[in-house]
């Protein structure tokens, strides 16, 4: 018995009000082939948004907004022990370029002794789209995107959708545009930052563990490290955090199956306050060696 996904699209292209929303999809079991369990309720809504407040810039922001049902999650760029990050492929007119995905800091998702990195609830994956130099008034074009993802709870369901929007966004005083902009503002707050001056992160190799030492400008009680590269740490091993003078030390179990030599530990450090730092710490030998 084949259950096909059904898609409900809404496109607002009113010429005067190019609202941020370009498409909403509600997916019902897009798995193809074979006997299947009874249909589950929609577990993710996916829409394409633009940030109207970036309309006058050279690289306006767009974003794929995932809204997940409770318990369901999608994955970060390094998904951890299992899973697959979303893939976003733009079809753009000549001269337009999509910048890299700006990943908000993820959550640590534990299940059955394995650990994945991803997002529950709500996440907006932003990108800047740069336009070619243009003389005169910028004319709106249609840009489209193919989004593929894996959404999981106890089981995993792959999904995909094709969405379109008019671009660039126009400055728009409507309440809907304000909501959209708020989502972008909230997502930007969750982007990992360069550590401020006074905050230093170093990494050492100590037997079967990597140790990150954080010297921090302000007091933090705890931190979680999310590695950018798979295969460097045992994702499921607990991270041992201890207070040290002027900061924290985080001890990370090395992967028993490293994929390649580790010259630096790159990733994201997340603090309980919701601050997140980008980390790129060259690994040195143990201080005792």
């Amino acid at each position: 018995m084949n259950l096909l996904g059904s898609f409900i699209f809404y496109r607002g292209l009113h010429p005067r009000r190019l609202i941020a929303k370009a498409g909403i999809a509600i997916l019902l079991l897009p798995l193809a082939g074979g006997a299947q369990d009874s249909p589950s309720p929609p577990n993710v809504r996916v829409e394409l948004l633009t940030d109207p407040e970036t309309s006058s810039g050279s690289s306006p922001s767009v974003g794929i907004h995932f809204q997940l049902e409770p318990g369901w999650h999608i994955y970060w760029q390094n998904p951890g022990d299992s899973g697959e990050p979303p893939r976003i492929e733009w079809q753009l007119p000549r001269g337009y370029r999509a910048g890299p995905i700006e990943w908000p800091f993820p959550q640590r998702l534990e299940h059955g002794g394995l650990v994945d990195y991803g997002y529950e609830g709500d996440v907006l994956l932003m990108q800047k789209i740069s336009m070619p130099p243009m003389a005169g008034v910028v004319r709106p074009v249609l840009v489209s995107v193919q989004v593929k993802w894996l959404v999981c709870r106890e089981i995993c369901i792959p999904g995909k959708i094709h969405l379109e929007t008019s671009f660039p966004p126009v400055s728009d005083p409507s309440p809907e545009a304000a909501v959209s902009h708020k989502l972008f503002a909230a997502a930007r707050k969750r982007l990992p930052q360069q550590p401020p001056p006074g905050a230093v992160v170093t990494a050492t190799s100590e037997k079967d563990r990597w140790v990150l030492r954080l010297r921090l400008a302000r007091k933090e009680s705890h931190a979680i490290f999310f590695p950018l590269e798979p295969g460097e740490i045992e994702d499921a091993a607990p991270q041992a955090v201890t207070r040290v003078p002027r900061g924290l030390a985080i001890s990370l179990k090395k992967s028993s199956e490293p994929l390649k030599p580790v010259e630096s530990l790159r990733g994201v450090l997340v603090f309980p306050s919701g601050t997140a730092y980008q980390v790129d710490a060259p690994v040195r030998g143990s201080p005792r060696e």
Partner: protein, 203 residues
């Protein structure tokens, strides 16, 4: 004082060796295990010393597994390599009530329906074999050589997606590894990030 230190060091080394017994490492001995298959037969890895062994972690509901079974890709690999004397063991480590859990009867029905051809399908509902190998995903593939050394641990191929269309353009790490090992060469790729759904261990 020195004697106490030596004893202490020995104790630490002993502990480290015990800890190292968990988890696997390419280049080291593959840990021996005992498991029952879908026909009630008991298998030990050590039974197969002298042969190449492939371990294939499996969950029939996972879209990544369905990619390889729905397309016939996994069955082709099983037939090709068992014909060359490889022992192919499908391992199911899903806990009861979780996706992929099957009774012996259900697994035999599945094997028949899918025209699958592993040497045996091992039922591991407590996850003890899975944990011994740190099996993370389905599929997750391991190759053990005739001397009992683990020579490959990782993904089935280099396209970590659910798209059947990717199979035709994928480099299959299992076939490549077995071909190289049988020719007496070291594996060009002995580890890779395994991709798939998480193995459904008990909570």
């Amino acid at each position: 004082m020195r004697k106490a230190l030596v004893l202490f060091a020995a104790f630490i080394l002993f502990l480290a060796a015990r800890l190292a017994a968990f988890g696997v490492s390419v280049g080291a001995s593959a840990p021996d295990f005992t498991a029952t298959d879908s026909n009630g037969q008991t298998h030990h890895l050590s039974d197969y010393r002298g042969k190449f062994v492939v371990l294939e972690w499996h969950n029939n509901g996972c879209p990544y597994v369905r990619k390889h079974y729905g397309s016939g890709n996994m069955q082709r690999l099983q037939k090709e390599w068992t014909a060359k004397g490889v022992i192919w063991l499908t391992v199911i480590s899903s806990a009861p009530g979780k996706q992929g859990y099957v009774t012996a009867e259900q697994e035999n029905e599945y094997l028949k329906k899918m025209d699958a051809a592993p040497t045996a399908a091992l039922l591991d509902p407590t996850g003890q074999v899975g944990r011994l190998y740190s099996a993370k995903t389905s599929p997750h593939m391991f190759i053990i050589n005739p001397q009992g050394i683990l020579i490959y641990d990782g993904a089935i191929d280099d396209h970590p997606t659910t798209d059947v269309a990717d199979i035709a353009v994928s480099k299959n790490y299992v076939s490549q590894g077995l071909t190289e090992a049988m020719a007496g060469k070291p594996l060009s790729i002995s580890t890779s990030r395994p991709y798939g759904c998480s193995v459904k261990y008990p909570d």
